[in-house]
């Protein structure tokens, strides 16, 4: 019996080591929060200035690319799908052990209570817990949320996600589209708009007046406890806390609770605890926010996020929040070099991009002078065409076909579609957008990320978006290295 117990204990330990140490990493649920935490690992303890905490409201609204550029600081968006206050409190207790930020921005809205009670929100919390170190504290905490039957799958992503073995083991490209939209925890879908029927239901969203003083506040007891817990934690760590209510359309018809009572109570709390509170649902005119800025009734889209982020940055400036100026920090500069807008505005950085001088005319309507590539690691690659003679075009007149033929040694990186069709090149289609910066006009379109760094040839075919007529011959870029 001793031999059996000894060997089975040893075998169990080996199984657990392989499971937790190897397999669970491979089978981790593919969420944007994983990327956030991997990104965070690159920062030293005092390199992050702001953490944004909350649910999808948060990760779709606060774009660190904009906020960091405006305020010259480093921020990380820790929002995750249906993240509840219990999880936020636990996450912050972990994060504040490792980082010394200046400010924690906490999203508050009646959904905080819904997320605490809804069984469907239970699964979402694992997005966060999967990324926190396994220890007794975490185990004890998880035990308070999940039943014994759920526990094996809660603790092990392998057990939870084993049905996706094919993707997890053999098709690990991940969601490149999601990666493309990801910026230090922020992610959003460009071009998504709220449906027409919702527009009708929530047509009053920006006209409803809201006066805190007219409503007596009330918060669910547990929500109150958790907010106070977060407040004590931040106070203990000497970190400032700020409440925000991110904008959403159905705030005045919130199915999760009475918005007026909830936010009035938050306001009372913020006043009594001296915590700043920025309620975006009172700022529709100032922002300004329209239907076109929302992707659905609960979230802003990328245009809305840009407005929210800019407004937030200017609010912090107005409120005299002082942060360390990070402009000379390597991590800030690296982040900005990945920030496409910043690159476009910075001649020094534009000059560093792989580029080729060209002389190419498309139906006399536009002339192209220079071809640039802006490849952001593991996300989309932006193709930038500098226009020689800026004419009255919108960019939407054209469809651009990108034919990228890699050098022989990189043919293995061709897309699955190219391999399937036995092509020697990747072919992508794009509808370019026109940007004007400092008097220079650019046509810009995106192609998916690829491991290809050396092209034998790049051909661009211009097609009339209406007639589908194609200009011949194509623009031939010739060999180009992205390294």
């Amino acid at each position: 019996m001793k031999q059996l117990l000894l060997k089975s204990t040893l075998f169990t330990i080996i199984v657990l080591v392989l499971l937790l140490g190897v397999m669970d990493r491979l089978f981790l649920t593919d969420t944007h929060f994983n990327r956030t935490m991997r990104e965070l690992d690159r920062y030293e303890a005092d390199e992050v200035d702001i953490f944004f905490c909350g649910s999808s409201h948060v990760f779709t609204a606060f774009n660190p690319e904009i906020i960091d550029k405006e305020l010259h600081l480093n921020s990380i968006n820790l929002g995750s799908g249906a993240q509840n206050l219990e999880t936020t409190a636990f996450l912050l207790s972990d994060i504040l052990e490792r980082y010394n930020p200046k400010l924690i921005v906490l999203d508050v809205f009646p959904g905080n209570n819904y997320h605490l009670n809804a069984p469907t929100a239970k699964g979402f919390q694992l997005e966060v817990f999967d990324n926190l170190e396994n220890n007794l504290k975490k185990l004890k905490y998880l035990r308070s949320i999940y039943s014994i039957r759920e526990f094996s799958s809660v603790l092990s992503p392998t057990i939870r996600n084993h049905k996706d073995w094919n993707d997890k083991l053999f098709n690990r490209n991940g969601n490149t589209k999601a990666a493309a939209e990801f910026v230090r925890g922020y992610t959003n879908n460009p071009g998504h708009h709220v449906k027409d029927e919702s527009k009708n239901s929530f047509r009053d969203f920006n006209t409803k007046t809201f006066v805190y003083d007219t409503v007596s506040g009330s918060l669910p007891e547990r929500v109150k406890e958790l907010i106070l817990q977060i407040h004590s934690l931040t106070a203990e760590k000497n970190v400032e806390l700020m409440f925000v209510s991110t904008p959403y359309l159905d705030w005045y018809k919130d199915p999760n609770g009475n918005y007026y009572e909830f936010t009035a109570a938050i306001k009372e709390m913020s006043d009594s605890l001296d915590i700043p509170y920025l309620n975006f649902n009172k700022q529709y005119v100032a922002l300004p926010l329209e239907f076109s800025d929302f992707k659905d009734v609960a979230h802003v889209n990328s245009i809305g996020a840009e407005k929210v982020s800019l407004f937030f940055a200017s609010y912090l400036k107005e409120q005299d929040f002082t942060f360390k100026d990070r402009r000379n920090d390597s991590i800030w500069m690296r982040n900005q070099s990945e920030n496409f807008e910043y690159v476009l505005k910075t001649p020094k950085l534009m000059d560093r991009l792989p580029a080729t001088q060209v002389e190419y005319t498309v139906w006399d309507s536009l002339k192209i002078a220079k071809f640039y590539v802006h490849a952001k690691p593991s996300t989309v690659t932006k193709i930038i065409l500098e226009l020689k003679t800026p004419l009255q075009i919108t960019g939407e007149e054209y469809i651009v076909q990108f034919h990228g033929k890699p050098v022989k040694t990189q043919k293995r990186y061709l897309s699955n579609e190219a391999k399937l069709k036995d092509r020697d090149r990747n072919i992508w289609y794009g509808r370019p957008a026109l940007k004007e910066l400092d008097g220079t006009k650019y046509l810009i379109f995106e192609i998916p990320a690829s491991k290809i760094t050396d092209y034998e040839t790049i051909l661009l075919y211009f097609q009339n978006a209406e007639t589908l007529e194609v200009v011949q011959p194509p623009l031939n870029i010739g060999p180009l290295s992205l390294k």
Partner: protein, 489 residues
Amino acid sequence: MLFNSLDFALFFPVVFLLYWTFAKHLTVRNAFLLAASYFFYGWWDWRFLFLIAFSSLVDFFVGKYLYKATGNTRRKVLLWTSISVNIGLLAYFKYANFFIESFVDSFRLFGQDLEVAPLQIILPVGISFYTFQTLSYTIDIYKRKLEPTNNALAFFTFVAFFPQLVAGPIERASHLLPQFFKTYKFNYHQVKSGLLLMAFGLFKKMVIADRAAILVNQVYGDPGSYDGYQLVVATFFFAVQIYCDFSGYSDIAIGIARTMGFDLMKNFDSPYFSKSITEFWRRWHISLSTWFRDYVYIPLGGSRGGTYKTYANLFIVFLVSGLWHGAAFTFVIWGAIHGVIIVLEKAFTKQRENLKNGFQKLKLSKLYAFGSLLVTFFIVCVAWVFFRAESLREAGLILRNSVDLNYGKLFHGGLGTMGLAESEIYLLLVLIVLLVLFELRHRTKPMAHYIARRPIYVRWSLYLVVVFSLLLFGIYGDDQVSEFIYFQF
């Protein structure tokens, strides 16, 4: 409780450790085993524990008085008491609705519509198995092949022994009951071999059978929506599923019993390698086919009443076997197909021998063997259609449509439309090939011995592969733990 559930994963180690703690004290050990077995069964529905206890009680006392009884009439009365109680319970729980529906249908044939509502009956899991097991006890005593036991605890434990309680192997009292009167010493190698067998059984069930089941359930759930080649693929996968499901269960049952020192009979012996249906039934569900041989075929007269009587007896046995599997005409037809083929094989024994000799002379015996194997597998698969189909009408539809084969479509998108992703189907095919190779090798060199002789790093690597295959490729989870097919019989 299912062997492939988290409940059992917690239950078994506790039972195993406590069992070996009590192993030296026979009465305590048996009492513990009985309690564990009742707990195991009661986990599903405790109310039916009374049924097992009642069945055990009747046969315990019938066995006792049967042995003492001298008069022929008295002995027969006692035997029929046991048969009536056991078969009566089985008939009520399993066949009552079948008989009612058949009765109504037969009236409908004559234009009479009877309004009879079906009875609301839950079929107690494993009733067919423990009923046959306990019946073997009284019949063997009647035949004076066995002496009854005076130890009620041992007898009750024999009837309810949890590893084989719900889906066999159907043990004979002469083999299993004496084992409850022995104490066992802990034997590391025996326990290890039992655990390996359990792991192999779980692998067959969770990785192969349950994966195949997804496709089979989808196609057989709506056979009219699928092309012929898809129905053929689904039938092939059902053949794989039912084998891996049932033999997997038997392996786990035998493995569990072995870890506690008990020996259960072999239930499967690579049946799809059979070269005739007769041979198939010597390899498939051996504990049931030998039960029918001993307690139905031989009492009917076996082969002693001349050629036609033998054929009739064989046919009856398979018809009854079909009915034992399920209260539906599809099962009866399934049994009848096997019965007819076995009768034909017996009738044409000489001709088959001549054909075999002819191939031998041409030095093509391997081709003959392979051809026989394919033909046997084909017949088994045709019969499985009736076994699996929801009704005779659907079985007919599947067989009719299966003739229309357009395999070109199979590899042009048709494969992935049967409820299982293409990658899952390819994985399944690889696993089936590995299983065939494993069984081929196992026939000449038992794999357990082969593995035992490998160096420790090879053995442990292999064990790790099995564990991680179960974790990664097993079909499990809240919505996916599936019952063993034979639980319903």
